[in-house]
């Protein structure tokens, strides 16, 4: 690792310490990303600290999905750097991926498998046992549907399986792209309560949404605006 980043890392830690702030998880330095000819955003810098809730605001086509995918290293950056716990990505990909969970537009579920099979074969660091899968699915309101193929579940029920996968991943940072899509009122409340519980346990969440998230005890700590 170059000396410069080590230095800035220790500086930051000292700074955090003096201000009594939580540790920095993900740091974005002057990100620029474009799709084809279209530049979506340029020179965005921000940090996500432990226990922080970050909301991403922007109109359709403003680059919310692209930014979130770039944060997952699924999109190449035109310029800028990403750091996970002070180490530069994508070199520190392995430690990043074991502590990060992403829920994008596509569910990432196998429709031919049941919710339980989707969870128990989801390739996280430590594979969950079957009991934990059943418990987590009950927690997201899918009790009784655990052994049906995901093919017969509705779009909203599949989103609930995705929520169960987030819980079971034990990830620190959740990156959620439109987590409220296809969910009913109780589903939206479930997302909000899961996010709040995750933050309270010291996790961090960055999410994008067009609908207000029905948070009961807090609001977003940081809001990132993307120009239209």
């Amino acid at each position: 690792m170059p000396d410069k980043s080590l230095e800035s890392d220790s500086d930051r830690r000292a700074e955090n310490h003096s201000e009594g702030r939580a540790e920095t998880l993900l740091e974005a330095k002057s990100l620029s990303v474009s799709r084809g000819e279209l530049q979506l955003f340029a020179d965005r810098s921000f940090t996500i600290t432990k226990g922080e809730l970050v909301q991403l605001h922007g109109d359709n086509g403003s680059g919310k999905t692209t930014l979130l995918r770039a944060l997952c290293t699924l999109m190449p950056l035109d310029e800028g750097e990403l750091y996970w716990r002070g180490e530069q990505l994508p070199a520190a990909r392995d430690s990043y991926f074991s502590e990060m969970a992403f829920a994008g537009h596509a569910d990432g579920l196998k429709t031919g498998l049941t919710p339980v099979e989707n969870l128990k074969w989801c390739l996280i660091d430590t594979p969950p046992d079957e009991d934990a899968c059943y418990q987590t699915l009950a927690q997201t309101g899918l009790a009784g549907k655990e052994d049906l193929p995901c093919r017969v579940l509705s779009a909203g029920q599949r989103r609930r399986v995705v929520l169960a996968r987030l819980l079971i991943s034990k990830a620190v940072l959740w990156i959620l792209d439109e987590p409220l899509t296809a969910l009913d009122v109780s589903g939206r409340e479930l997302v909000a309560s899961l996010i709040e519980a995750h933050i309270e346990q010291g996790g961090s969440v960055i999410y994008s949404t067009h609908q207000p998230l029905p948070l009961s005890s807090r609001s977003a700590d940081q809001t990132l605006m993307l120009p239209g």
Binding site: L74, P76, F97, M100, A106, D107, T111, G112, L123
Partner: protein, 223 residues
């Protein structure tokens, strides 16, 4: 780490067994193509046994190609490919697991069925061991080489034709040594040279293809 390898194989095999068309179609294609030859060139036993090694090998190669398009396509469209790329496990290992599972349902059935088709094509019985061995090594290599092409074309709407154009030239060495091996055995010659070369191609593909396919997958999801 090996847990993730076996987990992914288990997942893909379960899915394939629940959707039988995925592995049954290429297999039926293989059988039909080979049976077309006695109908097309006539029931001349001498001629059939002469062309049998080439016919069976070309049919196996095309059947493998037919199955290859589905290797990553479903995962790409339902988003599980993203989850695969974001897994903390080494991607080449996961790609190798997917390719292995794919071979178990698309390559292995071809090998198992090939003696039946060899009888149909009047291939001398003494060539059967060479046919089986060369097909095992050959279809494994084809699946591995093909995984690179499948990974490169997975993001394209009509990727299957491009996939064929990309990987067929790379299949040629396997075809030459595979059918050459069976032809030599049918004429009563030693086949160890061809088999060694096939094994060499297999190990070369095993060492390189998972890494190349992983890099190609990362590029494919960027679009």
């Amino acid at each position: 780490m090996l847990d993730s390898f076996s987990t992914l194989i288990k997942r893909d095999l379960t899915l394939s067994l629940r959707r039988s068309s995925e592995w049954l179609n290429p297999l039926v294609f293989f059988v039909i193509v080979v049976t077309l030859f006695p109908l097309g060139v006539g029931p001349d036993g001498q001629l059939l046994s002469e062309i049998a090694p080439g016919v069976i090998w070309v049919a196996a190669l095309l059947a493998t190609l037919l199955a290859l398009d589905g290797l990553f396509r479903d995962d790409y469209s339902d988003g599980s490919l993203e989850q695969l790329l974001l897994s903390p496990h080494p991607l080449p290992l996961l790609v190798l697991a997917k390719t292995t599972a794919h071979w178990l349902v698309s390559g292995l059935p071809l090998v198992i069925l090939s003696p039946l088709l060899a009888l149909l094509m009047q291939l001398p019985l003494q060539a059967l061991p060479a046919l089986l061995l060369s097909l095992v090594l050959g279809t494994l290599s084809l699946s591995l080489i093909g995984s690179i092409g499948a990974a490169l074309t997975v993001g394209l709407k009509r990727g299957s034709v491009l996939l064929a154009l990309l990987v067929l030239p790379l299949f040629i060495p396997v075809l030459i040594f595979g059918s050459g091996c069976v032809a030599a055995a049918a004429s009563g010659f030693e086949t160890s040279a061809q088999l060694s070369l096939l094994a060499g191609l297999f190990f070369l593909a095993l060492a390189l293809a998972p890494w190349a396919a992983s890099a190609a997958l990362r590029i494919s999801v960027e679009a």
